[in-house]
């Protein structure tokens, strides 16, 4: 099913990001994946971890090359990899802004002011939910319960959580983010990959 013309996950807006000219994992990424594969009875089970590595390697979202590379490394059909990746909401198929704000509007947060926070953010950033600012700095999304309800309204920005956010203090969140160099999507993926790896350098295995 190696259909080169399949465009179902091609980013709509454009440029293929820089980092992977030949569309391959870096040697470090391959070593990480090799280590992770040893955690499971078969390679296929390393699918989610491999997609996390890919999300980091390809700059925060899964390009066609990323899917092809995961398929190649795990020896699975491309269509299968794409099918799995598209099931999960945390894998991106389009570039996100440098800071990806995910505001929880679920039950508790929704009842303690989350919508006010969303509307204030829309106003301040000049975008609607699901959109990215034209300078590429911020993407604004709505998410389901982040299970941090005691601190509602909660906003997740990758590995950072902001609790007790209100429409009156949300400006501070933006200020803090503007000062941060973190690029939400790749750095979240990187954190997750590190969590999967036991402490110490990944042991690279020769195949």
């Amino acid at each position: 099913m190696d259909n080169e013309n399949s465009n179902s996950i091609t980013p709509e807006t454009g440029e293929r990001t820089s980092c992977k000219s030949e569309g391959r994992f870096s040697p470090n990424a391959i070593a990480e994946l090799d280590e992770i594969i040893t955690h499971y009875p078969n390679k296929k089970a390393a699918m989610l971890p491999a997609l996390w590595i890919a999300q980091r390697e390809y700059g925060g979202y899964l390009t066609r090359e990323a899917i092809r590379e995961v398929a190649r490394l795990l020896g699975r059909p491309k269509a299968e990899v794409e099918g799995v990746a598209t099931f999960y909401s945390m894998y991106n198929f389009k570039p996100k802004g440098k800071h990806h704000l995910e505001v929880c509007t679920c039950l508790t947060c929704g009842c303690v002011g989350a919508y006010g926070v969303v509307h204030k953010l829309e106003e301040m950033l000049g975008i609607h939910l699901g959109e990215t600012t034209s300078d590429g700095e911020f993407t604004l999304s709505e998410v389901e319960c982040l299970d941090w309800c005691e601190a509602g309204t909660v906003i997740q920005v990758g590995n950072k959580y902001f609790g007790h956010v209100t429409k009156d203090n949300v400006e501070m969140v933006l200020e803090q983010l503007r000062e941060s160099d973190d690029h939400t999507s790749p750095s979240l993926a990187d954190d997750i990959v590190k969590i999967l790896l036991p402490k110490g350098e990944p042991k690279s295995k020769v195949e």
Binding site: L48, P49, G110, D147, C149, D191, I195, L196
Partner: protein, 443 residues
């Protein structure tokens, strides 16, 4: 019966995330004791304790444990369900973030008891900080010889523990969907008993598998250290021990409160400082999937499996959400339906289509286009989903909506007749000013 800290006892001890501090609080003693016992004797302690699964269904833990041990062939697998996604529930997050060693110790005990040498902690992708704590605890446990080969000098006991991170899917908390996800597939459920095998016989990779919730495993060190009979001395006749209740919403002090099972529901509310912003209107006591209780039905209900059921709701995962009189139940139900429509995995028709229809109808009502027949239509959709879906997510989507209508029907009627909220303009959640097309692709 009241607040009773067992699992949360050491939550606020400085440095408790470090193995030395955990050990100085009696940590890993339960494991050491377990290793002096026969495997089946460990399960007997679990049986005497009568601890039930804390992930929602309340199934006796020991039955699953002994189901795995009885298989003498093939590898066994141990899974911890740390996918916590149920709106209103946040106990597993705190247990992993602050007390990861308690969980790791519980899993090692379970591994010994079930003769298992490989385990996975499945953690939802959003939980980066809690997962980092678990990572640290696992690494420290390896360094101390509690994990790995020949644990504590026992040549016949090896156990490797890995972390598997999810990637954003509520359905992956359902145990068979979780196994699909662990095996590298879409997070969709697998055929269940009696049509398919039980996980304890053929779970992940077709091997005997034990899957328990974070809180369930976290009970094991205490049960082993102090004995099953001691654990069973707490709680009610059929609901033993303690339960962590995650209190959120319109209360003064939201947070996790551990109570003895059987504690009056209203006492939990008091623990959390009582209602703020107006009078109490309703409580959802066990996470978004369980039926809502109007204020007048809350009195006299106790927080245990049986009492909650008798009151027409469920203890569930302990996600205790409190709503004051400013809450518009119809909009709350619309948001609940939106959650399930968004999280339905799409495998079976009643849930995939039904959850979307429920959301569409509720959305129509709060957009001012509701029709008098809509209430019965909603109930009809609930009936079409409940009991007809492939996994319990469908049922869990129907129950809250049905209970919302049953207990607050006049608010639905008000919306349909007057095309505005019975609460007024400052209701919560606020009247949606626009449907968000990004969240649910309605094709």
């Amino acid at each position: 019966m009241a607040e009773l800290k067992l699992l949360l006892k050491y939550r606020d001890v400085p440095g408790i995330e470090n193995i030395d501090v955990w050990e100085s609080c009696g940590g890993y003693e339960g494991l050491k004791k377990a290793l002096t016992m026969e495997r089946s004797a460990v399960i007997d302690e679990m049986k005497i304790s009568a601890v039930r699964g804390r992930g929602g269904a309340g199934f006796p833990a020991w039955i699953k444990w002994s189901g795995v041990l009885k298989h003498t062939d093939a590898p066994h697998y141990l899974i911890c369900n740390g996918d916590e996604g149920e709106p209103g529930t946040f106990k597993d997050r705190e247990l992993m973030l602050k007390l990861a060693h308690q969980l790791v110790e519980g899993m090692i005990i379970a591994a010994y008891a079930t003769n298992t040498d490989k385990g996975y902690v499945y953690i939802r992708g959003e939980f980066v900080e809690p997962a980092k704590s678990v990572r640290k605890a696992i690494d420290q446990a390896y360094a101390k010889g509690y994990l790995g080969r020949g644990i504590l000098g026992r040549e016949d006991f090896n156990f490797d523990l890995y972390i598997h991170m999810g990637a954003g899917s509520y359905e992956c908390g359902e145990e068979t969907a979780l196994m699909s996800s662990l095996m590298g597939e879409r997070g969709q459920p697998r055929l269940k008993f009696p049509h398919g095998a039980l996980p304890v016989d053929a779970g992940v990779w077709d091997s005997p598998t034990l899957i328990n919730n974070v809180e369930t495993y976290s009970c094991a060190p205490h049960i082993l250290r102090n004995g099953g009979a001691w654990y069973a001395s707490m709680g009610t006749e059929r609901s033993k021990g303690t339960k962590i209740i995650s209190v959120s919403g319109h209360v003064k002090k939201p947070g996790n409160y551990e109570i003895e099972l059987g504690t009056p529901l209203m006492e939990v509310l008091d623990l959390a400082g009582g209602v703020i912003g107006g009078k109490l209107k309703a409580i959802i006591p066990g996470g978004s999937s369980v039926p809502i209780l109007p204020a007048e039905k809350c009195v006299g209900v106790n927080m245990d499996y049986e009492s909650c059921q008798a009151a027409g709701t469920m203890l569930g995962s302990g996600g205790f959400m409190v709503f004051n009189e400013k809450t518009d139940i119809v909009i709350l139900m619309r948001r609940t339906a939106e959650f399930y429509a968004h999280e339905s995995c799409g495998k079976c028709t009643p849930c995939r289509e039904g959850t979307r229809w429920m959301f569409k109808i509720l959305d129509r009502i709060v957009s001012g286009s509701g029709q008098p027949s809509d209430i019965d239509l909603l109930l009809n959709v609930c009936d079409q989903i409940d009991g007809r879906s492939y996994c319990p997510l469908g049922d869990a989507a129907a129950w809250p909506i049905r209970a919302g209508i049953k207990n607050f029907r006049e608010e639905f009627e008000y919306w349909i007749t007057h095309k505005k909220s019975p609460i007024g303009g400052d209701c919560v959640p606020p009247v949606p000013y626009r449907i968000n097309p990004a969240l649910i692709p309605l094709s």
